[in-house]
């Protein structure tokens, strides 16, 4: 009986089963580890300023800045939120974004990078010792001494090569199992053929042992692999970082009407969510209560805010401007329009992945070529001498001398140097081949709102207003949190105006602000509110008494570095096009201001993507720069794409490179760097090929002593790395 009673209790009171859990959560507040991205820090002064500012926040136990990763890790009590910390850092004068440490804890990636580094260290240790012993052999050790040197080398190299070469063996085996050849097959074959013949030679007191060459080959290749891995790991963490940048939270209204902060993932259809003015709508839904204006710029590219009242459908990603809205959830999390678009983008992206990089092209030529060459050499020598030992020795020499280590280093060394340079300039490269694709671009398509502009308007023509009207406008504007009102208030204050005292000030959410001035009603707000005709431009209206309303037009302020980026790209001979969802007048005026001749206005999201596809069909390689959800399709359709840090996460995920700061100027730099990087990669391939052309005849002729092999390998690898370093 008792057990039945206990069983039924959760059904009787659903809240009972939830409450203890909630209490447990509330009672045991855990210290939080918060992570901030700081794209702007660069010096010792920045470190101490940011750390001091963070340490002064009550509740923060410890704050540590990592300059290499441009991040701050903060240990703080549960009452501290990342939002507060971002504000603190921003008031200290540095740009900051919140990162989700849970997503960033890419322990698996870290572990394999450390694993590669450990193998590299072991290979380096073994190589140095074996080289030391080999010097004795090269300088003429004979007989028992030579044998002893060979045996010691074998004792060092055998365990070392089994351990350090594992990544190559695993890759080679998986390629062979699927009936393919990759770079790792000739590498594995070369290593084991060299070790095998050397061991045989050592047992029979032979003169030539290639232990040093085998371990040196492994060392150089591991170095290339490690660099490659680091670029890719940073690319992967970039994608994670970007997903983490927008940490989604929502204010859910409980039955009693009290709001509680929950993760967006915990919301269900039918929940009611409070969206405060200035907040981003976390879900798709319908407005139940409240009137306001919503900024749809990220979704549609319109710079003019739209009216929202009961019954208006809102989507995730839109920004609520003036009044609080209660929204009933119709779709949350994975089902929102925003997520569906992100999924579409993922599908579009997978279609683009068939790009063949320069490294792949080289590997395709190289792998079969080397095998055929060494097999031919072995067969030729066998037919000539009928001595299997000599022919195998020659085959090993050919495989080692054709040294894929320069090829293995050619691309990763360059991409590491180039992406390091771009990271310092404020750009993250998310995709390994993005740099090569960027170098091929000949057309640039820019989005306007939020990309070339800050997405923040500023008023123009304020001098046309009478001085007392300016004072009235200032007092009205200070009441509202609407971005147009804030911009207007800021601009008027900068002009030195003082607010005129007004009475009965109140905000009418969704419409504007009204008050009384010397007994006359005054209003600042939407055109329709005052019966004026809405103009094509972004504008707010001021009405004093019965006078006709006066328009105060706004233009969007240009992003810093936008003009420099456009000019830089044009100077490099690229065709620059502006495509925007905004009205024709606004777009054309802006294009003239920034110096872009080709314009496409009032473009819908699919029209943007279609325009990019059309350009691609005409043979253009398009670089798309955009930030909004309406750009994501175009971003993934383009040959290569860039988005600013302020972009919506869907757009950042869709693009290949991300700007870390507000400045757009690194785009032109990135293009120049990528062109240089591609040239360096080509040079490196040429260097490696020239080495092979010189060295291979020696190997086939049987003249490749271990000394020649060691010299050829080291010098080609070092030349290639130094050539790559010229990029920094």
């Amino acid at each position: 009986m008792a057990s039945t009673f206990e069983h039924s209790s959760p059904a009787v009171c659903p809240a009972c089963s939830v409450t203890p859990a909630a209490e447990a959560l509330a009672e045991a507040p855990k210290d939080a580890r918060l992570m901030l991205s700081l794209p702007g820090i660069h010096c010792a002064g920045c470190i101490s300023t940011v750390e001091k500012a963070l340490a002064q926040v009550p509740g923060v136990h410890e704050a540590r800045v990592n300059l290499t990763l441009k991040r701050a890790l903060v240990d703080a009590g549960p009452e501290v939120t990342a939002e507060d910390l971002v504000k603190v850092v921003e008031s200290a004068g540095y740009e900051a974004h919140e990162l989700d440490p849970g997503v960033l804890a890419s322990t698996a990636a870290d572990r394999s990078a450390k694993d590669l580094l450990m193998r590299l260290a072991v290979a380096g240790f073994a190589m140095m010792n074996v080289m030391l012993l080999s010097i004795a052999v090269w300088s003429g050790a004979e007989g028992v001494t030579r044998d002893m040197m060979h045996w010691i080398s074998a004792a060092i190299v055998l365990p070392a090569i089994v351990f350090t070469g594992k990544p190559f063996y695993v890759n080679a085996w998986s390629a062979l199992r699927h009936g393919r050849l990759n770079m790792d097959v000739p590498i594995t074959l070369a290593i084991w053929l060299a070790v095998g013949t050397s061991l045989y030679e050592t047992i029979h007191s032979g003169a030539h042992a290639y232990f040093d060459a085998a371990i040196a080959l492994t060392f150089f290749l591991l170095a290339g692999r490690y660099l490659d891995y680091r670029t890719r790991a940073s690319a992967r963490s970039a994608a994670q970082e970007l997903a983490a940048m927008e940490v989604p939270r929502a204010l859910r209204l409980a039955e009693t009407g009290t709001p509680e902060t929950v993760g967006v993932g915990d919301l269900a259809v039918g929940d009611r969510v409070l969206v405060r003015p200035g907040g981003r709508v976390p879900v798709d839904g319908t407005v139940l209560e409240g009137t306001s204006e919503i900024d749809r710029a990220l979704m549609t590219g319109e710079s003019l805010p739209a009216f929202a009242g009961p019954g208006t459908a809102v989507s995730a990603g839109e920004v609520n401007l003036t009044g609080p809205l209660t929204v009933e959830v119709t779709a949350a999390g994975e089902d929102t329009a925003l997520h569906r678009i992100a999924d579409l983008v993922a599908i579009a992206e997978s279609g683009r992945n068939n790009y063949t990089s320069l490294a792949d092209q080289a590997a395709k030529l190289y792998a079969p070529g080397v095998h055929i060459l060494s097999a031919l050499a072995a067969i030729g020598w066998y037919l000539y001498t009928f001595d299997l030992r000599i022919s195998l020795n020659i085959a090993a020499a050919v495989l080692i001398i054709t040294c894929p280590c320069a090829l293995g280093l050619a691309v990763p060394a360059v991409t590491t140097a180039a992406s390091g340079r771009l990271f310092r300039k404020g750009m993250l490269i998310k995709d390994g081949t993005a740099m090569e694709r960027l170098a091929e671009a000949d057309t640039v398509v820019f989005d306007k709102t939020g990309t070339l502009t800050m997405g923040a308007p500023h008023p123009v023509g304020l001098d046309d207003l009478p001085v007392d009207a300016q004072g009235v406008a200032l007092s009205l504007a200070t009441v509202s949190g609407h971005p147009l009102a804030e911009a207007l208030a800021g601009a008027l204050r900068d002009m030195g105006r003082q607010p005129t005292p007004l009475t009965d000030l109140r905000e009418v959410p969704g419409y504007g602000v009204e008050g009384k001035w010397n007994g006359r009603p005054v209003r600042l707000g939407r055109a329709s509110w005052m019966g004026a005709e809405a103009p094509a431009l972004t504008a707010t209206f001021l009405q004093i008494g019965d006078e006709p309303p006066q328009a105060i037009p706004f233009t969007d302020s240009m992003r810093p570095g936008a003009a420099a980026a456009v000019a830089g790209l044009k100077a490099n001979g690229l065709r620059v096009i502006l495509v925007s969802g905004d009205t024709r007048g606004a777009v054309e005026r802006f294009a003239a201001e920034i110096g872009i001749d080709e314009v496409m206005a009032e473009a819908l999201p699919d029209q943007k993507a279609a325009r990019v596809a059309e350009l691609a069909e005409q043979g253009a390689r398009v670089l798309m720069v955009g930030d909004g959800l309406n750009d994501t399709a175009a971003l993934s359709a383009a040959h290569v794409s860039i988005s600013p840090a302020s972009a919506l996460d869907a757009a950042r995920v869709a693009s290949d490179m991300v700007l870390l700061g507000k400045d757009l100027a690194p785009i032109a730099d990135a293009f120049e760097t990528s062109v240089k990087a591609r040239a360096r990669i080509r040079e490196n391939f040429t260097i490696a090929t020239v080495y092979n052309i010189i060295a291979v005849p020696f190997a086939i002729a049987g003249l490749a002593t271990p000394l020649v092999a060691a010299l050829a390998m080291s010098s080609s690898s070092i030349t290639v790395s130094l050539n790559a370093l010229r990029l920094r």
């Binding site: 450990m118 010792n129 001494t145």
Partner: protein, 52 residues
């Protein structure tokens, strides 16, 4: 040539010491923020809460 019997083990031992030292540094996180550490020495501030 008997000297080799001493020198080779000694060189191997010294190399191994370096290798173990490198692993130790890697584990201690000495390579986590090389740029930051290079800049921190220029910092004139006193550390009020040094790590123990």
């Amino acid at each position: 040539m008997e000297i080799l019997l001493i020198l080779i083990p000694v060189s191997l031992f010294l190399g191994a010491v370096g290798l173990v030292g490198f692993f130790w540094l890697l584990k201690r996180g000495q390579f986590d923020d090389p740029e930051g550490d290079a800049n921190r020495i220029l910092n004139g501030d006193y550390d009020d809460k040094p790590k123990r």
